[in-house]
């Protein structure tokens, strides 16, 4: 494979399988690989990727890029131009395409697959839905109850803290925009707290920009689902981060 140097370094672009990976309900990629996959846009060179992906080390970035190339998720941007497509136009069109897909009910869903595990006898998985939109929270609760989960709702930071004190859930669905807190700050706080730091957290948000997805991943989210979502896909994401079928 020919690697073409741009003035600031190599520029990579997604292949079709990268987009499948970023919108699927499961991923086997590491957080560093996902982060780079999200940052790669066909215009940003490796030097700039390294700056944006800090604190990932240069070595970690190199290894992740090599793996992504080997697995066919990314290609040097020259491979895109060799097809006669200008990279600028190509990615501008791609962004428009994503907007159009969203308009038609598609969404972003990233979930790290946990190690598979079996549900032991009499074990009940519990879900805590942190969402201030009461109707949406009720819909999610009803759906997950139908799927066998014990489900509670918290509509604010205070309610989340009370719910965590009451019982540790198997998994948390966390809205990014709460009336009294930033969900990303709550995510970071939970990741620091010894009692709940291991609880898988799937972020739910109406923001689907690269930056917002990255913020969630960097602060330790196990999954990221954009609104509006399909509840079936939300269930797949939750099962994926729990490692259950």
């Amino acid at each position: 494979m020919t690697v073409v140097k741009s003035p600031g370094g190599v520029v990579y672009a997604h292949s079709g399988s990268a987009d499948v990976e970023l919108t699927g309900a499961r991923t086997a990629l590491s957080p560093a690989e996902i982060e780079l996959l999200v940052l790669i846009d066909g215009k940003t060179n490796v030097d700039e990727l390294a700056r944006r992906a800090a604190p990932l080390s240069e070595e970690a970035i190199k290894k992740a890029l090599e793996k992504l190339v080997r697995a066919g998720y990314i290609v040097p941007a020259a491979d895109v131009t060799s097809a006669g497509i200008d990279p600028g136009d190509f990615f501008s069109s791609a962004e428009q395409g994503v907007a159009s897909l969203k308009k038609n009910g598609y969404f972003v869903c990233i979930a790290h697959a946990a190690a598979p595990r079996k549900i032991v006898k009499d074990e009940k998985l519990s879900l805590l839905v942190v969402e201030d939109d009461e109707q949406l929270a009720k819909l999610v609760r009803t759906y997950f109850k139908m799927e066998g989960f014990e489900t509670r709702i918290a509509g604010s930071r205070a309610a989340l803290e009370a719910a965590l004190r009451e019982a540790k859930p198997s998994v948390v669905l966390l809205d990014v925009m709460l009336p009294d807190a930033d969900g990303l700050d709550l995510l970071a706080a939970m990741r620091r707290h010894p009692a709940v730091k291991e609880v898988p957290i799937v972020m739910m948000t109406a923001k689907s920009t690269r930056e917002s997805v990255l913020q969630g991943i960097r602060r330790g989210a196990n999954g990221y689902v954009t609104k509006p979502f399909n509840v079936d896909v939300l269930l797949k994401a939750v099962k994926s981060v729990l490692g259950v079928k």
Binding site: K102, K103, N104, G105, D132, D133, Q135, L136, K138, L139, T142, Y143, M146, M177, P179, T205, A206, K227, P228, F229, N230, V231
Partner: protein
């Protein structure tokens, strides 16, 4: 009716009240609350089977964020048209 369909029907039934609330916030000039209400509507309508309403709400939310208050009345009407 399946419980999920009941919730979807309930959501649709409450849309006129949500729209009235949006108009009231606009009339009172409470743009921060209006932005939040539009954000909520944009995030939920598609999940309740109303993607066109969600998309119209997202457009109004972006307009509100950009501070183009003069266009909001028309955009809220557009949400109403999609909900009808």
């Amino acid at each position: 009716m399946n419980p999920l369909d009941e919730l979807r029907a309930e959501y649709r039934a409450e849309l006129p009240a949500k729209l009235a609330h949006l108009r009231e916030l606009l009339t009172k000039g409470q743009l921060k609350d209006l932005h939040r209400a539009l954000h909520t509507l944009a995030g939920s309508a598609g999940t309740f089977g109303l993607p066109a309403v969600g998309e119209a709400a997202r457009e109004a939310e972006a307009c509100c964020e950009a501070g183009h208050a003069e266009r909001l009345a028309a955009l809220i009407d557009a949400i109403g048209a999609k909900a009808a």
